[in-house]
């Protein structure tokens, strides 16, 4: 595989899991932020 293609695929891989993680993380924390609760324990 060409180096450029490999690099692009790796970047897309990283971005995909970044989106997955932060989508669910923001979904979890946003209600707390909206209620102005200093969230968590």
């Amino acid at each position: 595989m060409r180096k450029k293609t490999k690099a692009v695929l790796m970047l897309l891989w990283i971005i995909f899991f970044y989106i997955a993680h932060y989508y669910f993380a923001i979904k979890k924390y946003l209600p707390m932020v909206r209620n102005y609760i200093p969230f968590f324990w």
Binding site: A20, F24, P38
Partner: protein, 632 residues
């Protein structure tokens, strides 16, 4: 601020004691900092063991601790002097220009990494001054030590499940409580967290390079799971620290073949098991890694079978000797050295099969299917498996497990240490899969994830096409974690900085249980013994108390209690004079989303409690959430 003075004293004596022990073993380190990273936990553990023995003999007094510290200071005055000389000369010789040149400080990515690497620990340092209030801390981590201190003895607490487990770190916190207060205990936990951070840095410096060291350290300490737990009196981060030091020592042994590092690994494996039962899982895996290393050396004729056998036996014996005091304590109090495990063999006190099943369910809601196993990495990254019981909804560690770790197999340069870390990670997560759904219980996998991530990111940053985008993504992660840090801890900063009184703070965190405890302390006689019903947080209570929790204790056996009359008779037999009921507290089962469960406070028990309260008690206090009633 007195806590700072006590902390400095404890740290200096612990490091000096640790250095003396390591000198006696004959281990040499690459740098003073690397030596200190091993010395601190070793010395602090030795002091904790000394106080454990003093407590078992009935000499748990502040004066005894002060005498022990004074004697240690006198015996170690040369080591203390040398240590202070090292610290002051490092400060004196620190040159900002040299530091800037060495780390290529400019307006660049690594400068931001260094700033954040200083910022997270600094903020956590201030937060360590926040009074303890988290659930597990005031239920048993500090509550246990407070009971021992009040009795001036390490006593059997039959209703407190966790008091009969190995609890080395809780004993360290007890030292903090004995010398000062819960804040000193927090600071001891924080100090071990900083030593952990430094150990990751030094490990990466030794085996890789400076940049991987910086990256891995920041990735590690900026995980919400780590920075939230490492400045409170929990034990998870400290357990992971001991396990990591054991792995560190095994890696150095593998390279240097110096057996003393093997002994050091065994010591820290033993200390890990002594901290938490799950440490035994980590120790077993580290031992398996050692056996593989020895088999490799035998196959390459670097050593004979006898030496390999002797070394593996030495590892087991050393770890066992370190753990033995906890086994003896448990045997002495319960009749079972590994209570509550294997109770069908040892027949230890106040435990049975039903309770063990309940605990097993509490620890592992997961169905052990292939699908659940394969989705583990996804659940660690997204926590979406919580509805299946595949993972709990707790503090997380970012996207690295899936975003970065798999890319190791596509970067050019492989490394033997990273290969072995992947093996360790695979085994840790596989064993954890069968034992628990609670991610915190496999926290010793987290430093490995951070170091592998640092290594892979360092390789990826060499690729021009990836470099800028990856740096932006990482800065986003660190910035997000920083925002989370501020949001999650904002409520504690005023109390931590002395702008809010401890009393005012505790009235909010934990709130009603603190107010009810204050009522009990001010109004109930000294001889009062309180049953804590639907709550276990007895830290603020200055009277005797007993947990009523049907799950975590068999001291009050609910299978023998059929009515409120039986309950009254049983409580009278145990000398209970009052009952504290938290009507608003429930342990929510994520699979069923109900307050009660069939293995904890069942509807029958709760209804029985209501009838009991009406027939046999008189209400003294009611703050809407919590009742305090006196038994007639």
């Amino acid at each position: 601020m007195i806590e700072l003075a006590y902390l400095a004293l404890l740290l200096v004596i612990s490091i000096a004691l640790g250095r003396r022990i390591l000198k006696y073993i004959g281990i040499g380190f690459n740098s003073s900092l690397e030596g200190m990273v091993f010395s601190l936990p070793l010395g602090l553990s030795a002091i904790a063991y000394a106080m454990l023995f003093a407590g078992l003999l009935g000499y748990l007094y502040k004066s005894v601790l002060v005498i022990i510290l004074a004697l240690l200071y006198i015996a170690l005055w040369k080591d203390v002097g040398e240590l202070l000389r090292i610290i002051f000369s490092s400060i004196r010789n620190f040159s900002f220009n040299k530091f800037v040149r060495k780390h290529d400080i400019a307006l660049n990515f690594y400068s931001i990494v260094i700033i954040l690497l200083l910022l997270f620990p600094l903020m956590n340092f201030f937060l360590s001054f926040s009074p303890p209030w988290h659930f597990d801390v005031i239920a048993y981590h500090l509550a246990m030590g407070k009971i021992y201190i009040a009795a001036h003895k390490v006593v059997y607490i039959p209703y407190m499940l966790f008091s009969n487990f190995p609890s080395l770190i809780d004993t360290m916190y007890m030292v903090g409580l004995l010398l000062s207060n819960g804040i000193l205990a927090n600071l001891l936990g924080y100090s071990l967290g900083i030593a952990f951070l430094a150990s990751i840095y030094k490990f990466c410096q030794r085996f890789f390079n400076e940049r991987i060291a910086l990256l891995s350290s920041l990735i590690f300490y900026s995980f919400p799971l780590i920075f939230m737990l490492s400045r409170t009196s929990h034990i998870d981060v400290q357990l992971a620290f001991f396990v990591f030091l054991s792995v560190y020592a095994i890696c150095v042994y593998s390279k240097s073949k110096d057996s003393k590092w093997l002994f050091l690994s065994a010591i820290f494996s033993g200390l890990g098991i002594s901290s938490k039962v799950f440490g035994a899982v980590a120790a077993a895996v580290i031992f398996a890694l050692l056996v593989l290393i020895l088999i490799r050396d035998v196959s390459k004729k670097r050593m004979d079978y006898k030496s390999a056998f002797a070394k593996s036996a030495a590892f087991c014996i050393i770890a066992f000797v370190i753990v033995m005091p906890w086994l003896l304590k448990s045997y002495f109090f319960t009749g079972n050295p590994v209570w509550p495990e294997l109770n069908e063999i040892f027949h230890g006190k106040y435990w049975d099969e039903k309770h063990q099943q309940g605990i097993n369910v509490m620890h592992n809601l997961r169905k052990p299917s292939l699908c659940n196993y394969l989705r583990l990495p996804w659940d660690i990254v997204t926590q979406q498996g919580k509805r299946l019981g595949n993972i709990d909804e707790d503090l997380e560690i970012g996207p690295f497990v899936l975003a970065i770790l798999p890319l190791y197999f596509f970067v050019g340069k492989k490394d033997r240490v990273i290969n072995s870390f992947f093996m360790l990670l695979f085994v840790y997560l596989t064993v954890w899969f069968f034992l628990s759904h609670i991610f915190r219980y496999v926290i010793y996998a987290v430093p490995l994830i951070a170091i592998i991530s640092g290594y892979v990111i360092h390789e990826l940053l060499k690729i021009n096409l990836l470099s800028r985008a990856l740096k932006l993504l990482l800065l986003f992660t660190f910035g997000f974690n920083l925002l989370f840090f501020i949001g999650a801890n904002a409520k504690e900063f005023p109390a931590a900085l002395g702008l809010e009184s401890e009393d005012n703070f505790h009235s909010k965190y934990p709130g009603p249980i603190y107010d009810a405890s204050k009522f009990a302390n001010s109004n109930l006689p000294e001889s009062a013994k309180i049953l804590l019903f639907r709550d276990t947080r007895g830290y603020f209570i200055d009277r005797g108390y007993v947990w009523a929790d049907p799950l975590t204790q068999a001291y009050i056996d609910y299978s023998n209690i059929k009515s409120e009359d039986d309950y009254y008779k049983e409580l009278k037999r145990l000398g209970i004079t009052h009952i504290l009921v938290n009507n608003n507290f429930g342990w929510r089962n994520p699979l069923h989303d109900v307050i009660t469960s069939d293995y904890r406070y069942t509807p029958e028990i709760l209804e029985m409690k209501d009838r009991f309260l009406e027939k046999y008690t008189r209400n003294l206090y009611n703050n809407g959430d919590i009742l305090v009633n006196e038994l007639k």
